[in-house]
Subunit: 96 residues, 2 copies
């Protein structure tokens, strides 16, 4: 399933900077960064739960915001992209 | 339809700061800010196109990134929220 992870981590204190790096690293392990704090991931249910588990061990529920959206249907049908786009579709045929 | 608008606007120059404010104002006219650069909007097709039209007149396609996701099915089914949450569901009954 295609999911979208968006987050705001409060970085007023150094501990926030640390949380921000950890959150990005976790998301990177499960998908692709498409904007500073937006990741697109293609995961199964177990991977989704594992990612959530890891993220919830890092974020501060009082200070930070984490939203995980399930993109029902096909990701490429759901998103309209304008401007800079770093997304790589690994399902596309690789032309050697 | 429920949509999600996410953006990264490059703010190295004052013109970027101006674009950022304009983008946020436009999104605010069509929906709710749920994170710094993430808005949830409930719009019809005409409103979606009008919002896109306004946003594309503001962003710099070379420097900025704008992604608009259609949340098929029901928004509340699609999103999992952790931590700070500013979303107000106007469909909820108001208790006086």
């Amino acid at each position: 399933m295609d999911i979208l992870v968006t987050y705001d981590v409060e970085t007023l204190e150094p501990s926030g900077q640390k949380r921000l790096r950890k959150v990005a690293t976790i998301c990177q392990n499960f998908g692709q960064r498409v904007q500073k704090s937006v990741f697109e991931c293609n995961v199964n249910q177990a991977q989704l739960e594992e990612m959530e588990h890891q993220l919830l061990r890092v974020i501060d529920l009082e200070k930070d915001s984490l939203r995980i959206y399930t993109l029902y249907g096909n990701r490429s049908k759901a998103v309209r992209v304008y401007g800079k786009d770093h997304y790589i579709d690994y399902n596309d045929p690789i032309i050697l």
